[in-house]
Amino acid sequence: MEHIVIIGNGVSGITTARHIRKNSDKRITVISGETDHFFSRTALMYVYMGHMKFEHTKPYEDWFWKKNRIDLVRGFVQKINPDNKTLELTGGDSIGYDKLVLAVGSKPNKFGWPGQDLDAVQGLYSYQDLESMEKYSPSTKRAVIVGGGLIGVEMAEMFLSRGIDVTFLVREDRFWGGVLPKQEGELISRHIKKHHVDLRFNTELQEILADENGRARAIITKEGEEIECQFVGLTAGVSPNIDFIKNGKIETNRGILVNEFLETNVPDIYALGDCAEFHQHPTGRRNLEQVWYTGRMMGETLAQTICDNKTPYRPGMWFNSAKFFDIEYQTYGWVYSELKSNENEFYWEHENGEICLHLVFDKTSNALLGINTFGIRMRHEVCEKWITTGKDMNHIMEHLKDANFDPEFYKQYENQIVNQYNQQNGTTLKAKKRDWKRIFVKN
């Protein structure tokens, strides 16, 4: 029986394992150095804040693995020997494989800052990171978080839940400036400040200072300001966790290089998820996409290939979502931080400054290209249909109510939105009533 070994029990590795099991009787082994069982790392913040216990982050009960004949091995792979198809684990054990799947994830970026390896200086990615945050929290009065992205805002929310003050250093002139357009960046920046975060724009980290025990005691910014703190969060993105693979036979760049079938340059070795980098993304998206659902989709795809149904990775339209303190964010299609030359935009913001809808469309055809929404939930299927079939703005405005996914009784803003669109464009469009038929009929 063919032995499939998967390194990494995150969403990519586990999805691969589950779908191989659905489609075959192959022997499956999953190796993880992090935890015994798969958990959802997106929920680590909720464990810290007391919304959940660690057990709640596990999507499958512990008996699931044995029942589905997925062997779990706790250990770190030190070295891969593609020639005789074996893995060396720290501690001396060795495991043979017929096919190897690398789902080793990523690690927080460190950009060579002096002091970046001190105690109480860390990112938030792994279970061990959570444990370490727990360890340092009781003796932390102020934390400095470096890097204005999703993990940074999670970390800020976590510390505030324990009454720890937060200073948040952001390199750009607004929150998540590399991703969000100015309007949304400012909206979220206002909301973060409302939660009493000391948010500093255009500020970069110069150096982290140590106390006599080797723990962070302060940081110095590029402008030379010293900020006293007992914890430094490094949340300026993540990069593939592939140190043990580099300098071997497997070709790497920032990540492990793969083709559209998620195959590396070495036969019978595959890579996916956070650690995989496409030579050329099959659908023109970024070559390195470190989000939850792409790991899951890659896992479903790779399992097909491994089970002899060779399938190329074809993610559809880009989408994503997040929550910044109390404001939810969803995006469908592409809304870049700056408009491209062929793009035009429509932006509506509620007078409370916490709800907005940002539509980007083609200048000439008026076809919808992307949606950003804050504080309004939208229906994925409807948005996808609009974007992939290139519906124009008039159609979008008239059918806006179909896309609303907010809970029942929530105030709806479609009429306001369409009114503003009419005023700006001299049109006389009206938002039609929501229609179940339109919503549920496929295509």
């Binding site: 007391g50 909301h191 989709m297 399938t311 109390d326 996914f405 029942e408 919503i439």
Partner: protein, 540 residues
């Protein structure tokens, strides 16, 4: 703000302390008149008991426990003698008349059912206590302080919790909400309360008296333990509804739902029935549907409704129409939630007082399997019990297939009505979560669930591929549904147990879940496909 909150807690605790403390004050002085009134009203025929009681009880002063236990002791002693006599008559071969006469002298004092009806009237009539002398003051010191303190404890959260949003911080780190000592103390308090309420109301005459003035002004009758319970129920729900309003002030679904379920409790389960009594009509809760309302078809209820003219007849017909037509039709259009989390009293308490415990429900597959067995067994039990009741009602036979109908009713009343629904269902909120009764025991929920599962427009729609498997939805599902297991597959949630509280949708950080009443077509997705993927569609 912190100061106000802490003072509120102290005031609230003081209210509870007065309430509990009142159990231990005052005494009972049994005068001959009160004793005779009681003997006559109870129709006590045992001359042995009466003689002994006149010696041991009349003219003496007791505490509640002493008086209650002395009565029971004497009753058991006399019953023993009567039963010995019956034995003697039977052994000597007959004299049915004599035997029947002896049987009529037997006093039934089982602690689980008959005890309280026997002793309660005498203890209630004979109490002397400061509470009895100052009923309005007592009301203020108990209910008043507890309510004011509770509100003072809760309202500062409007500021303390920060901007509106999901604030479940520290729920799993606090002993009261994570099965720590705080939770255990609360559970013990609830369980003791329910035991006293259901089985030993004669020991809590003073707490009942604290609500006497309110009862007199509503129904014109002195307060019973059930009136006190109703008032506690409404007060607790009101105070905790305020907590819900603050916690979910960004979520109009929760605010409207909380308001409606509170309205149905206060108006339909409390005020209207009490006012009906004032106008000499039967106590009737128009929203309480059989089989949750398991006594609906009991002979005393049917007779009382039949003897109450047009209104009584309307109540009888309405009760049947409610169960047979209104309930399933509404479930078809709106889901089980219209009843379980919008109207029902049990649900109302679970969604207010119980909200801080919702995350304690068991999400394991084992629990789900257990749930499906036990809740349908209870439904079956309710149907059999009611069937036997109606058979006896129409045929006049007191037993069916050799089993005494009254025993079946008592069994159901004790095990399901009292122990399961009350002691376990509510008493164990801090241990089992807030919906243990609704999930495992409620026969009406089982019935609604069957309709919801197989013929309804209601579902929780999963929004394409946005789920990140974080598990907030499953953690906060009070019914223990593993919502995530559906959401992460892109599958709609169609489960018989879902009461549509809407909290999974509220706590989802990615906008994945929406409660919806939509066309049945495509409601259940057997082979879900994650939206957003263009390659061959995978079967999951």
């Amino acid at each position: 703000m912190k100061f106000i909150k802490n003072s509120g807690l102290l005031i609230c605790i003081a209210g509870f302390a007065f309430f509990v403390g009142s159990i231990f004050i005052g005494d009972h002085n049994v005068t001959p008149e009160k004793f005779n009134d009681w003997v006559n009203s109870k129709g006590i025929k045992s001359e042995i008991f009466i003689k002994n009681a006149e010696q041991e009880i009349v003219g003496k002063t007791f505490s509640s426990i002493q008086l209650s236990s002395t009565i029971i002791e004497l009753a058991e002693k006399s019953t023993q003698e009567h039963q010995d006599n019956i034995q003697l008559w039977q052994n000597s071969g007959g004299q049915d008349e004599k035997i029947n006469e002896e049987w009529s002298k037997v006093i039934w004092t089982s602690w689980s059912s008959t005890h309280k009806d026997f002793t309660y009237p005498l203890l209630q009539a004979t109490i002397n206590s400061p509470v009895k002398e100052n009923q309005w003051l007592a009301f203020f010191l108990t209910f008043g302080l507890a309510i004011i303190g509770g509100l003072l404890y809760i309202i500062p959260d409007f500021i303390l919790l920060g901007p509106a949003g999901i604030k479940n911080n520290k729920l799993f780190q606090h002993s009261a909400t994570n099965r720590g000592w705080g939770g255990i103390v609360t559970a013990v308090f609830f369980v003791v309360f329910y035991f006293l309420l259901y089985f030993f109301p004669d020991l809590i005459i003073n707490p009942i008296l604290t609500t006497n003035k309110i009862s007199l002004s509503l129904s014109g009758n002195p307060a019973s333990q059930w009136f006190m319970y109703g008032l506690i129920y409404c007060s607790v729900m009101t105070v905790f509804a305020v907590k819900m309003y603050i916690k979910y002030r960004h979520n109009l679904y929760q605010i409207i739902r909380t308001t409606v379920v509170l309205f149905f409790q206060v108006a339909f389960a409390f005020l209207i029935p009490e006012l009906l009594v004032r106008f000499n009509q039967p106590w009737y809760d128009f929203k309480n549907a059989w089989p949750l309302n398991y006594t609906f078809f009991f002979d005393w209820n049917i007779n009382s409704l039949l003897n109450s003219g047009h209104l009584g007849m309307f109540m009888l017909v309405w009760g049947i129409v409610l169960t047979v037509i209104v309930v399933p039709v509404m479930v078809y259009f709106l889901g089980k939630r219209w009843y379980c989390s919008w109207v029902c009293g049990c649900g109302g308490l679970a969604e207010t007082l119980g909200d801080p415990y919702r995350h304690l429900s068991n999400k394991s597959l084992k629990a789900w399997k257990f749930e499906r067995y036990i809740i349908h067994l209870v439904l079956l039990f309710a149907v059999v019990m009611t069937g036997a009741t109606l058979y006896s009602y129409f045929s006049g036979a007191t037993s069916i297939l050799g089993i005494d109908t009254y025993s079946i009713q008592s069994w159901y009343g004790f095990w399901i009505g009292s122990i399961f629904a009350g002691v376990i269902g509510t008493g164990f909120y801090p241990i089992l979560g807030n919906r243990a009764w609704c999930r495992f025991g409620c026969p009406l929920a089982a019935y609604l669930g069957l309709v919801q599962r197989f013929k309804s427009r209601f579902r929780i729609t999963t929004n394409g591929g946005q789920c990140i498997s974080c598990g907030n939805c499953s953690t906060y599902c009070e019914m223990g549904i593993d919502v995530r297991s559906y959401a992460q597959k892109g599958q709609n949630i169609v489960r018989s147990s879902c009461v549509g509280c809407g909290v999974c949708s509220a706590v989802c950080p990615r906008g994945v879940l929406k409660l919806e009443n939509a066309p049945e077509d495509g409601r259940i997705i057997d082979n879900p496909i994650l939206v957003g993927k263009d390659e061959i569609k995978l079967q999951v």
